[in-house]
């Protein structure tokens, strides 16, 4: 069950998508999400899907992995679909199906379908960002993008450092959790039976050791960072400088054309 969590996972590669500057990737992903909500009809959605498919193709990330990223949010997608399906009023007053206060209109079906499509594309696009960008690059890019906020005394560096540490420790903590679960199962722990309260109580033998080990790790990491004279942002230089390359400019141009077309198509309701 824990193996399904793909958030923050990175799959190393050497494709053009992998090589893009993280700042460019973050900005393009945000623009892509905005475009998703401006796309109006089947034609513009088809264009968005085709574009995303090409990006996935170039990146060399397997389709199965992309689909697996959807699994944790399946419930939210299904929930959205049901709400939209039943609660969209019909423009003409005609309903396909009615039962008490529940009704399904043709508009409802359409809205639900596009909403599900939108959510799925949104998740896929953002997971493509994390799949092809290492956590270090990602937070580096984010820090550089947000650096204007430093003028307002926002702790941009600290935030991005926290984020990279958090991302770094997700797999470690998952592994740790699995180990603790096995150890408690070996002592006869039962997580699958009993009522809700009993099941919640059964989690204590997992959560206490997990928290203790997380604190211990945090403490060790803090000491290790201090030993290497970490003192925040001031005077800190980078081993890898970010540079905008030709591939970044090409990506931006292609992106501008596709997204421009999608928005234009969307305005005409296509």
């Amino acid at each position: 069950m824990l193996k399904d969590i793909t958030i923050g996972q990175f799959f190393p590669g050497d494709s053009a998508v992998h090589r893009l500057d993280p700042r460019v990737k973050i900005v393009l992903t945000i623009v892509f999400i905005i475009a998703l909500f401006l796309a109006g009809g089947p034609v513009s959605y088809a264009a968005v899907i085709a574009f995303l498919a090409v990006v996935i193709g170039i990146s060399g990330i397997s389709l199965r992995l992309v689909v697996r990223g959807l699994r944790p949010v399946l419930f939210i997608i299904a929930f959205t679909a049901v709400l939209n399906l039943f609660y969209t009023p019909s423009a003409t007053g005609e309903y396909l199906w009615q039962w008490g206060f529940l009704h399904i209109s043709w508009e409802g079906v359409k809205v639900a379908f596009f909403m599900v499509l939108r959510l799925m594309l949104l998740i896929i696009a953002t997971s493509m960002l994390t799949y092809t960008t290492s956590p270090i690059q990602l937070t580096d890019g984010l820090e550089r993008l947000l650096s204007p906020l430093k003028k307002l005394h926002a702790p941009v560096h600290e935030l991005s450092m926290m984020m990279s540490i958090a991302l770094r420790f997700i797999p470690t903590l998952i592994e740790e959790t699995e180990k603790i679960i096995s150890a408690q199962k070996a002592r006869g722990a039962d997580f699958d039976s009993g009522n809700l309260i009993q099941r919640a109580k059964a989690m204590i033998p997992i959560l206490v050791p997990l928290f203790i080990s997380a604190f211990r790790r945090a403490d060790e990491l803090a000491t290790a960072m201090e030993c290497r004279l970490y003192r925040g942002d001031v005077g800190r230089t980078r081993m890898k400088q970010l540079h905008i390359e030709r591939v970044d400019i090409c990506a931006c141009v292609i992106f501008a054309v596709v997204i421009g077309a999608v928005i234009a198509l969307g305005r005409y309701g296509l």
Partner: protein, 289 residues
């Protein structure tokens, strides 16, 4: 001696169907005798930790079966009885990281409580297992987190002993301990074995530690059993063990080196006393020529 645990054609594959697919156990046939101390040796990734997690049904074999007292632990419906977990007690690596209760006594009682034993029986078992691992009874109401690393590990081992398992499996019980702590843990395991008559399995990658303790050694290499025999018999294949990337006891190394230099010594020894005897025998032989 009768067999208590047996595996037949046991195979396990990690990450089946993904690019990370790896066979961790490959048709392992093994018989563990009732009451013996079996040392399990192999370097990292040889499949030893995977093997022991099959003994109490934590992992389900991809194919093959595991038999406890001649009965398969997985039934036809693909279920494993929870009782198996109590009969085969498994102490994981770094078990001190699984402690969670407010007092030592309550942490040790976690296993017996899960067995749904009556309270007085649980209290009795807590007392008994604290004694077995050499923890003073006055510690019972203290927090386990206030203890030293070595003592925490004893609490964790006591937590498994309290289930009174027929088979006690310890995964690297001495990892990360200093030499004194290591000897203490090993001698308490030996004492527990002698007093309770339980079958004991110790996983380690230190030959030195368990060669002295075990009746038999199981050497794992590349998901398969390389040897499973008495220490003497296993170390007579010392060259092959070294070739598999495993360490052999220091004294066995000395004997191997002597043999390489043309002395007809017995290389299957693994203690200094045995070595002395072997050297004397060799000297007599050489003098006779």
């Amino acid at each position: 001696m009768s067999t208590i645990l047996e595996t037949r054609g046991l195979t396990y594959v990690y990450g089946a169907g993904t690019p990370f697919e790896r066979t961790a156990l490959d048709h392992v046939d093994l018989k563990i005798q009732k009451g013996e101390i079996l040392g399990v040796i192999g370097h990292t990734g040889s499949g030893k930790s995977t093997l022991i997690q099959h003994f109490n049904g934590l992992l389900k074999p991809a194919s093959g079966e595991v038999l406890l007292d001649g009965q398969p632990i997985w039934n036809e419906k693909g279920k494993c009885a929870r009782e198996t977990r109590f009969r085969v007690g498994l102490v994981f690596q770094y078990p001190e990281y699984q402690l969670f209760e407010e007092t030592i006594a309550r942490d040790i009682a976690y296993g017996p409580t899960n067995m749904k034993l009556p309270q007085d029986e649980i209290d009795e078992r807590v007392r008994e297992s604290m004694d077995a691992v050499g923890l003073d009874a006055s510690l019972a109401s203290q927090s386990p987190f206030a203890l030293s690393g070595g003592q925490k590990r004893r609490v964790a081992i006591a937590g498994v002993i309290a289930m009174r398992p027929d088979v006690l499996v310890l995964d690297e019980p001495t990892a990360g301990l200093d030499p004194a702590g290591r000897d203490e843990i090993l001698s308490l395991v030996k004492r527990y074995h002698d007093q309770s008559g339980a079958t004991v399995l110790i996983v380690s990658h230190s030959m030195e530690d368990i060669a002295r303790l075990a009746n038999r050694l199981l050497v794992m290499n590349h998901a398969k059993i390389l040897f499973c025999d008495t220490p003497r018999e296993v170390f007579s294949h010392a060259e092959e063990i070294v070739a598999a990337g495993l360490d052999i006891p220091m004294i066995t190394k000395v004997m191997l080196e002597l043999k390489k230099r043309g002395h007809a010594v017995d290389t299957s020894v693994f203690t200094v006393a045995q070595a002395l005897e072997a050297l004397r025998a060799c000297k007599r032989k050489e003098a006779a020529h």
